[in-house]
Symmetry: C2
Subunit: 594 residues, 2 copies
Amino acid sequence: MTFRDTAAGTLTTADAGSTVQLAGWASRIRNQGGVMFIDLRDASGVVQIVIDPGVHSEAVDIRREFCLSITGEVAVRPEGSENPDLPTGDIEVTVADLTVLSSARALPFQLDERTEVDELVRLQYRYLDLRRPRVAANLRARSTAIAAMRRVLNQAGFLDVETPTLIKSTPEGARDVLVPSRLQKGDFYALPQSPQLFKQLLMVGGIERYYQIARCYRDEDFRSDRQIEFSQLDIEGSFWGRDDVLATLESVMVEVVRDVRKIELETPFRRLTYQESMDRYGTDKPDLRFEMPIADLTGLFASTEFKAFAGAVEAGGVIRGLNIGGQEMSRSALDGLVDDAKDAGAGGLVWMVVEDEGGLRSPVAKFLSEAELAGVRSALEGAAGDHLLIVADRTRVAADVLGRFRVRFGAPEGHDELNFVWITDFPVFEETAGGDLVAAHHPFSAPVDVDEMATSPATAIAQAYDLVLNGSELGSGSVRIHDPETQQKVFEILGISAEEAERRFGWFVEALGYGTPPHAGFAVGIARLVSILQHEPNIREVIPFPKTQTGVDPLTGSPSPVDDYQLAELGIDLRPEVRAARAEAAEGEPPPGA
Amino acid sequence: MTFRDTAAGTLTTADAGSTVQLAGWASRIRNQGGVMFIDLRDASGVVQIVIDPGVHSEAVDIRREFCLSITGEVAVRPEGSENPDLPTGDIEVTVADLTVLSSARALPFQLDERTEVDELVRLQYRYLDLRRPRVAANLRARSTAIAAMRRVLNQAGFLDVETPTLIKSTPEGARDVLVPSRLQKGDFYALPQSPQLFKQLLMVGGIERYYQIARCYRDEDFRSDRQIEFSQLDIEGSFWGRDDVLATLESVMVEVVRDVRKIELETPFRRLTYQESMDRYGTDKPDLRFEMPIADLTGLFASTEFKAFAGAVEAGGVIRGLNIGGQEMSRSALDGLVDDAKDAGAGGLVWMVVEDEGGLRSPVAKFLSEAELAGVRSALEGAAGDHLLIVADRTRVAADVLGRFRVRFGAPEGHDELNFVWITDFPVFEETAGGDLVAAHHPFSAPVDVDEMATSPATAIAQAYDLVLNGSELGSGSVRIHDPETQQKVFEILGISAEEAERRFGWFVEALGYGTPPHAGFAVGIARLVSILQHEPNIREVIPFPKTQTGVDPLTGSPSPVDDYQLAELGIDLRPEVRAARAEAAEGEPPPGA
């Protein structure tokens, strides 16, 4: 039994006169009494079918999203009834045989693109949501992207190696997702946060080129752009330095973008050091579809009498400025920017507007010398009507606040450009909002100089790099430590005690001792990349079956209670307070499994 | 900094005179005083390098598996010193610059292929085991196989869709691997036993062609050929019947075998119904590299006076025979077969040996008529010296016992043939060793006739099929149920109560109600397939980082204890008896996390 011989979306006037068998879904139905028109949709597209309900009386019962198989003759549409919005709009199929393959109950929402539906309802009926052309196109783009990645890397001699997902728990940064073992009661596996240690073991094992589209897990309090499980393109190479990684990733991105977006990227991608990026764009994820650089004005105000500026410099800070161009902003809107800057952590913000005759209008203009005002206008290339923003603060704060304004006022909308940039030479440690130093990477990234890492932590550089696209971090990588002595020294500098290092990573340090080659690698988040390529602001749009921000799947109702015997088999139990809370929540219903 | 510009295994006499940079591992070292020879191994192969320790004094410290980078000139080896066993054996590289990239401590075992090493030790040092050419070749074959699968399916328009792995627990057959939720304390996710329901949801969602190399999990008591996590090629198609699935899988296997084994398979593969396979080969996983069919002798003994045979037939059983050909077996060895048959569940076994003059020598010959003896010899095509085995028992037992003898005496050794066969028309229910009927499939396979399934369970047929290679089941599939009414009826016939069906699968039956297309699919175990292609008797040889039969990873020591605060965060605790047992096992050490 066959259901179809032709894809609906491929029919053209060249097929007129031929008999075809089609199968798909009734996406629009117009019953004009003596004749019914149905838009039949399959994965390839839509075609109009024409049914005579006098012949096919069962057709009158067809509702939206019924699944049909038909046989009929392709006919050119009568003049004037063509549909130029439809690729198949010049033809229609006159139905000879009709089979209803399955019926559909009333839909919870219309699939029509124009209908806005609450995301929770969409996720509950994700299988209907997937029938919407936009969501289906996102899954196709994702499949196309990973196929391109694999093709490039297979051709370059990389091995696709599946690393284990039930692994040893080595908590670091985000929380491990834990899995109780039944055969080793009381012990737990962890799901991997990344294949980091296993891919390094593959390098120890002489697998010189590795990649994998790897499923990873992070049990974080969900943010809008994170999921508890996610996929990354994970690669690693032996006898590699940084530039080998960058060149390989560029060749991957060129093919992905060619296949998904039909755009030819130019390589090599632009490269900025972390320091350059922070200084010029106020972020390590610069959106370079537009320039709008931050300028350092500290030297200009070296001997200023304006106390707010002088004080910041004396405290070791900087004075930086940003020209956000011509804006239609009222005085109160400008003062609102000052509040925004304070919310973002700055002590304040100075705004200036370049007047037609070249002067600067600003609440603080009277405190500044003519030379200083002229210097600001010159440094920020201020033309008449331009709005200038200045922050005097700690370096990190000034950069961050102006970086946010830069994106807010500069980022293009509805812009097709894809701007990739490498950010290199990341610091080993980064400063928190509170001013503390914390490790910026996992402890397996190689410092440029391990002694400098110990003696000058604030300025020590790691052989670590990120790939940024249109202001979003796509992924990161590093040259790895490949000898056990350096690894142990780095653990120590990072504040991991010898005992803790042995317990968590002893088996790994042991492995490094058997002739480990120099190696380096990278990981790219698949959903982030595809969401940008598809102009989707939310990564859930490119994930086949995403979970909500609290880790719930509204479709299946997972996670869900399990039976007591299942817990007993695993040697675990719910804590009494959890059991009590659940019983209370169930309002008198028995606790789960009882 | 570059470490190499040339792959060691690619050098030939054509490269003589050129300067190359190589990097790899010292796999053999011969120090002849004034000159050292090292076999330098990288992923591409091995080449001999020649070092003058007078120039490079550090070379004398090089031990096996040190990681080196060298620059040197390719030279044709002096006549008489060529190594015909090595592809690069006509040349060597005279070292000018030598860098020891990293050193290796004393190895726990030699990597030399000829060394047999305990598997537990190999797994503990899997990263060294991976350096052995045979294990490395297995990982390459695996990567090649899955690349071929993806290429075929991408070209055929299938979408690679990543289904979730933290899903709702719906226990069936094997145990779910459970994952406690931190954000929904007291609730659990399950890791998927297969993507079955999600791939069916994709069909509901209009993704007409789906595939995935899917990670799956089964918490079984480990058998030698099972792992708690494993990968399968998972496919599903809409508007598909069985033959669409079979043709697609055949096109996949043709490419996999071509790429991995350089063999051209002929298609279509042979097809046998389950009944034909059981009758003729005594198994639903027939090894068809050899024929040796089982013959039914029931009719021949319809009016026999031999009580053992007559009794079996009266009880509804059958009499079947197998010609295992000429064998060198003593009387006691033959009697040993009788014991083996009894161990396998049969009431007994009759053996006969065809004598030179055509007579049959057997302990039971005197109880059989001349016509019966002649009939046996004729039915089993017995030639002089052939050994014939006869079982009279329940159908299932006779088939099973003779099927085992068939493989034991017939299966070829060291045989390169790949014999694929489809087994179709599986029964809905199968008989256990105890004679009970149990569901043979998951409850989503379509019966040929749902009413027959209810009224004649013992003979009802499902639209289910297996792919078998050289006597091993590679995978199975079925046409799925695509309407909610049939699905509910099948749950009922399988003994799943309406309440249980609603609780476990309500969301899925709901989804079927929205115009679900007819669909069918399949899943192939990756490790099983690759292990057969690679002549590996054990699937662990083709798994990058396998676990032992008790689910332990000897390399990382997982699963392992976790801290109490981690358990508290998940709202769970170890059961007191587990905690006590662990404390006792630790002999006075504090319990984990205390």
